[in-house]
Every structure is written in structure tokens, then in C-alpha cells.
């Protein structure tokens, strides 16, 4: 069985250096390591395979173009790339929401809530780098009280504002803010040790 690929901080720094030096093989390596996660995140947000693949293309094009803007002192490479993927996917999601003819289809697809659109397409964990980190983030989320976890998922994966979350859940705005603040504190504490990439 294939072992999950792992990358130390030194290897990550080397990869970033090569990307900044316009080494095309480094981009290929980065794709191999991160494409499953970028595609998974985009699929989770968009519930649409074609649009998610479009996001993957946007993300790697943007990373290649703007890797010089990545500041290692302000954070590791993976969260930076994931934030690009999330922002791009949410842009598409908001554009789609404005397209009323697709709204119903999206609502129907999203009714399945946390369930992935096509579970059969998920790769085996051993073949995907970063699986341990996935587990840890999942565990941190699972450790949150259900009412906090629900708000975090709405904010992160649907890009809703506090007011929109309050309307969607029928909770007072102050309660939403308080629960999100508490959730953020707990997640920060639980994920504080995540400094190495994919370790």
C-alpha cells in the first residue's frame, strides 16, 4: 500500500524557492500534493465537479503567478493556497446564487448537508498526501459543540456573513457572533501545533 506523502518544513521552503525561481517541475509537484485537497474543498463548496475543476485551474494559475507574494513568515503555503481556493469557489458560488434559475438545483444538492456529492470519487487515504492533517482538522471540528460547528461550516464553506447566518438559522445576531468567536478560539487552540506541512 502506498504511504501518504509527507513534506517537512525544509522541503516546503525548497518547494517555494523553486516555485519562485519559475521551476515548472515544482508546480507539477505542488499539483500532485495539493490538487486533491483543492478539488475537494471546491467540490464541498460548489457541489459541482465541473466548476470545482475550473477552480483548480484558477488556483494553480494564481499560485504560479503570485507565488512571490507568499510570505512564509505570515503562514505556511498550504493555508495560503486553500484560502485562494476558498475565495475563488465562494466567488463562483455567489455568482451562481445570483443566477436564480440555478438556485433551486443548488438548494436541492445542498440539502444533503455535509455529505459529499459523490462519495465514490474520494481517493483512498493512503494515496493522498496530507491525510493526517485532514483527520486533525476534522477532529477539531468534531470537538466543537454542534451549534458552533454548524455556524463555522456555514461561514467557511458557504461564505455567509454573520447576518446571513443569523437569518438562515433563526438565531439572534449576537448569539451567532458569540458562538463563532468561541468556535474560533477553540479551533485556534486545537490547530495551533499545525506548523509543518502535511505532517
Amino acid at each position: 500500500m502506498t504511504q501518504p506523502k509527507r513534506l517537512s518544513q525544509e522541503e516546503e521552503r525548497s518547494l517555494v524557492r523553486r516555485l519562485k525561481a519559475r521551476d515548472e517541475r515544482a508546480l507539477s509537484q505542488l499539483y500532485d500534493l495539493l490538487a486533491p485537497w483543492v478539488l475537494g474543498l471546491a467540490c464541498r463548496i460548489l457541489q459541482d465537479e465541473d466548476e470545482a475543476e475550473e477552480v483548480v485551474g484558477d488556483v494553480f494559475a494564481q499560485v504560479w503567478r503570485r507565488v512571490d507574494q507568499h510570505d512564509a513568515l505570515r503562514g505556511p503555503l498550504v493555508p495560503w493556497i486553500l484560502s485562494i481556493a476558498r475565495n475563488r469557489a465562494l466567488d463562483l458560488l455567489r455568482r451562481r446564487r445570483r443566477w436564480w434559475r440555478k438556485a433551486d438545483r443548488w438548494e436541492h444538492a445542498h440539502a444533503a448537508e455535509a455529505r459529499d456529492p459523490e462519495p465514490a470519487a474520494a481517493p483512498h487515504e493512503a494515496a493522498v498526501p496530507g491525510w493526517p492533517l485532514h483527520r486533525q482538522v476534522h477532529a477539531a471540528l468534531a470537538a466543537l459543540p454542534a451549534e458552533q460547528r454548524q455556524l463555522v461550516l456555514l461561514a467557511y464553506f458557504e461564505g455567509l456573513t454573520h447576518s446571513e447566518i443569523a437569518r438562515r438559522t433563526g438565531q439572534p445576531l449576537g448569539t451567532v457572533k458569540t458562538r463563532l468567536r468561541l468556535a474560533h478560539q477553540k479551533l485556534t487552540e486545537a490547530l495551533r501545533h499545525l506548523k509543518d506541512w502535511l505532517e
Binding site: P36, L39, P79, S83
Partner: protein, 191 residues
């Protein structure tokens, strides 16, 4: 730390053909943009240079025109203010309309400044012609075709030879002018 939340989504195996598509797009993008940027810079540079050339040329022409106007006005002002200038106003009637011709005659500088007001416009084949009346006869001073009814000012150099200038006259002549007066006199006046 919420930046790590993206890892909460389950990974998905990308279709095998996606990698080539994604890498080709990422690697081609900046080059295309580089060429686009270079083309845009070139267009801007050429456009800017042409615009600058046009602007400088226009401004130079305008500067030269204004310099000419200023020189003409200075000349006229010097003539008007000259202590040796003699001013003569001659009432004229053209086409039933009353107007006037003012002559600033500077005998020291041998120059005249002539201003015509209220002259009717000429027929298409005619023009007003001004004459110096000298001891040796009539010498053409200026030909002015009046196609618009508005004041006209001109500076004239008195003839270097031909005797003393004793007066002025204006006739209506063919548009190309005459060597001696043939047409009807608008005025004839000794100074």
C-alpha cells in the same frame, strides 16, 4: 487557524487529464499576459509619442501665430502713439451705408496705419484698392477684398520713391487689382 479549515473537506481524486490542462493554463497565462502587457506598453508609447508630437506642433503653431499678432499690435500701437503721426478720419459711403476710414500717417517712419469701418462687402469680382496720392501720380498701397462686413486694420509702408505723398484715395477695382485707378472713387483726400 481557520485557514486550515479547508483541509476539513474530503479530498477528491482529480481526473487524470486535469493536471495537463491546469499546468498548461498556469504556465501559459503569464506569458500571454506578458505579451499583452508588452503590446499595451508599445501602443501606449507610440500613441503617447504621436500625441506629444501633435500637441507640440499645435502649440508651436499657436505660439508663432500669437507672436505674430503681438508683433502686429505692437507695431500698430507704436504707430498710433508716435509723436510724428497725423490722424485723419475720412467719412465714406458705400452701397448707401455710412462708414469711415481712419489713417494714422507717420511721416517720420514712412508708415501708415489704416483702419476701415462700415464698408459694405465687395461684389465677388471686386475689391477695394487704397492709393497713395504722390507728386508723380497714384501709387497702389493695398488691395483689400471685403467679403465680410467687419473693421479692417492694415499697416502700409509708404513708397520709397515716387515723390512726396500728398494724400490718399480708395477705389473699387477688379478683384485682382489695378495698376492705376479705374473704378469709382470711395474717397480722395489730401493729407
Amino acid at each position: 487557524m481557520t485557514d486550515w479549515l479547508g483541509m476539513a473537506a474530503d479530498p477528491r481524486a482529480p481526473p487524470p487529464e486535469l493536471k495537463a490542462r491546469v499546468l498548461a493554463r498556469a504556465l501559459a497565462g503569464p506569458r500571454r499576459r506578458w505579451w499583452l502587457a508588452a503590446a499595451a506598453v508599445l501602443v501606449l508609447a507610440v500613441g503617447g509619442a504621436y500625441w506629444s508630437y501633435r500637441t507640440v506642433t499645435t502649440l508651436r503653431a499657436e505660439r508663432d501665430r500669437l507672436a505674430g499678432v503681438v508683433a502686429s499690435l505692437r507695431d500698430s500701437l507704436a504707430l498710433v502713439n508716435s509723436a510724428s503721426a497725423k490722424v485723419v478720419w475720412i467719412p465714406v459711403t458705400t452701397g448707401g451705408r455710412v462708414g469711415g476710414v481712419t489713417i494714422f500717417a507717420d511721416s517720420l517712419r514712412h508708415r501708415w496705419l489704416v483702419r476701415c469701418d462700415g464698408l459694405t462687402r465687395n461684389a465677388p469680382d471686386q475689391a477695394y484698392q487704397i492709393w497713395f496720392v504722390t507728386e508723380e501720380g497714384m501709387k497702389s498701397a493695398a488691395l483689400m477684398a471685403m467679403d465680410h462686413e467687419r473693421p479692417m486694420v492694415m499697416a502700409l509702408d509708404m513708397p520709397p520713391n515716387g515723390g512726396k505723398v500728398m494724400g490718399a484715395a480708395m477705389t473699387i477695382e477688379p478683384r485682382a487689382g489695378s495698376t492705376e485707378p479705374h473704378g469709382p472713387f470711395v474717397f480722395h483726400r489730401s493729407l
